[in-house]
């Protein structure tokens, strides 16, 4: 599904990722855990294709295709989805307009038929109901005036609409209370299946109680220093980053 090999990335001339290799199969859930400054967000933005994240070395294959030179919108159309830590507010664009524009843009890019307004409305309503997203939220400008929990639910709604093959959740748990966390986790778990992979990037083990990963990787100073099963997250919770990273060194 996703193959990252020897990935080196710099931002503003500063090396942040220093040789990351990671292989994810279809339907797998991987967690990347790391302290602040270890390169977690750089990895997710690099995968999404954000400008300013320079790949100095290595490659990123999505479904066997090198995506390093693709624009963010092209990656999205190929089934890549990044759920952001801080979803962006877009005043003046209603949530519904945004969702439909994005949804149909992806379909069009894949050569699929676009959905008509009524068809799309039906689809959104069904998905929104499952995530407790109200009609009223859909009519408001995207993320404007939404609470932290509402913004994250909106990210999960988009994920469930686009049904991406690979979702990266970038610290989706930050700032969420336990109820909001459960909503997010339920949304992800509902979507888990043999065709969908998830990369859960987080600082804390808490989210992994709800989204149980198949593999856990520890990121430190731009490198993966240790990989293991879900028990690695529990070990990390007990020992802390410092001890674990020292052990690995």
């Amino acid at each position: 599904m996703l193959q990252i090999s020897d990935l080196h990335v710099s931002v503003d001339g500063k090396d942040i990722l220093k040789g990351i290799s990671l292989e994810m199969g279809k339907g797998e859930v991987h967690a990347i855990m790391g302290p602040n400054g270890s390169g977690k967000s750089t990895l997710s933005y690099t995968l999404a294709g954000r400008a300013g994240y320079e790949i100095a070395q290595g490659e990123i294959l999505l479904g066997g295709v090198d995506i390093a030179d693709l624009a963010p919108e092209e990656r999205a159309a190929k089934g890549f989805f990044l759920a952001l830590q801080y979803p962006v507010e877009i005043p003046g664009v209603t949530t519904m307009t945004f969702l439909r524009t994005a949804f149909n843009a992806q379909r069009k890019a894949r050569g699929e038929e676009e959905l008509s307004a009524p068809q799309f409305l039906r689809l959104v309503r069904e998905k929104a109901r499952a995530l407790n997203v109200s009609e009223e939220m859909l009519k408001r400008a995207l993320n404007v005036g939404f609470s932290g929990g509402e913004k994250k639910r909106m990210e999960v709604l988009q994920m469930s609409l686009f049904e991406p093959a690979l979702t990266v959740l970038d610290e989706t748990d930050s700032g969420l209370d336990i109820d909001a966390l459960k909503v997010v986790a339920d949304g992800v778990n509902a979507l888990r299946g043999p065709e969908r992979a998830f990369l859960v990037i987080t600082h804390y083990q808490r989210l992994l109680d709800y989204i149980v990963p198949d593999y856990v990787h520890i990121l430190a100073d731009g490198r993966i220093v240790r990989s293991g099963g879900k028990e690695l997250a529990i070990e990390l919770e007990k020992k802390g980053y410092d001890a674990l990273i020292r052990e690995a060194a």
Binding site: R50, A71, V93, A102
Partner: protein, 428 residues
Amino acid sequence: MTGAAQSWLDAALEGPDLPGLGKARGAAAKAFAKEGLPHRRMEDWKYTDIRSRLGEALPPAEPLEAPGDFLNPFAALDAPEICFGNGFWAHGAELREGVDVLTLSEALSAKADWVAKSLGAAKAPEDQPMLALNTALMRDGLCLKVARGLDGGAVVLGHEGRAGRQTVRNLIVLEPGARFTLIEAHQGGGEAQQSQQVSEIFVGEGAQLTHIRLQDAGAKTVHLATDVVNVAGGGDYRGFVTTTGAALSRQETFIEFTGPDAEAHISGAYMLASDQHADVTTRIHHAVPRCTSREVFKGVIADEARGVFQGRVIVAEGAQKTDGHQLNKTLLLSDRAEIDTKPELEIYADDVKCSHGAATGQLDENQLFYMRARGIDEASARGLLMQSFLAEALEEVEDERLRACLQGHVNGWLGAHAEKPGGVPHEL
């Protein structure tokens, strides 16, 4: 007097004149001759140099038999059309009974009472050389009166310019309690043109005028428009200006409240590219108590284009309970694009509520990335963000069908300038 100013005054002497204007023309020419064309040492003209762009007067335009190129951007409204070609009356549909329509020359020949009473009578700021020049040179125009208490419906006033100097004077009179919608659409070809228009607008007691202007004049046109609006007690004026055309344009709106409890909204959207220069200058005079004014101007400026917004609000001593609000925001799409924004509040009363805001910015990289990461291509994302930026201004147009026509024009511009094939998404 400079040679350029003389060329404009000489222009006044050509051809047969409209009847009954001798005295007014003479006085206006004298007033204009004092300073000639406005120059940049005049505070109101600091940012717009019309001397260098206007220079010598072009030869006067000839009437067009059939301004067939006029494409009504408001066709969806099914409103009657009146067309001017090169600044002269070309043709016009019947309006509702109780709406008097005359051309300026007809009105002067017939010595219509209401025209004689109102023409040149609108209260305006002192020392306006371009108002004087218009009086000295005016050739034709629309005189329209809506009878007391009547809902006169709407009219689309189309202006198709082809070449030369066009000087138009309109007179719009709403008697007490009347309602009307005046929609102007200015278009034109690529020949050099100087188009100057003054509209004197009287909104009677308790009357309401919606006044839309879509300025999409030709690429070599200098377009100067001045609306002098007098709003009587309890009257309501709703103006909206969309600017996409002309090499150099200046839209002046002078609002004078002549009675209490009146309201004026003047808003607009400007979209400029290449080396266009567009100036929006407003002056709202709260001379009497309890009037409300509101301005929302937003713009998008690309390439080396330049915008100017000057918004003056004067609250006279004794104009208590005035409520004034002004907002001007601009997106600059290139490093060389420029906006000069100058809010000026002069408040001489103590029990008033006045606010103003001005901001300039660029498209937000976070928003662009977010939209692209969700599958929207860059040009569409840019278009959508610009559209949403301008929405705050367009929402000032209350009538949905009218707003949809303007939105269509705006989207057309954005589609052409956000570099996206097929334009931007249409519903918002």
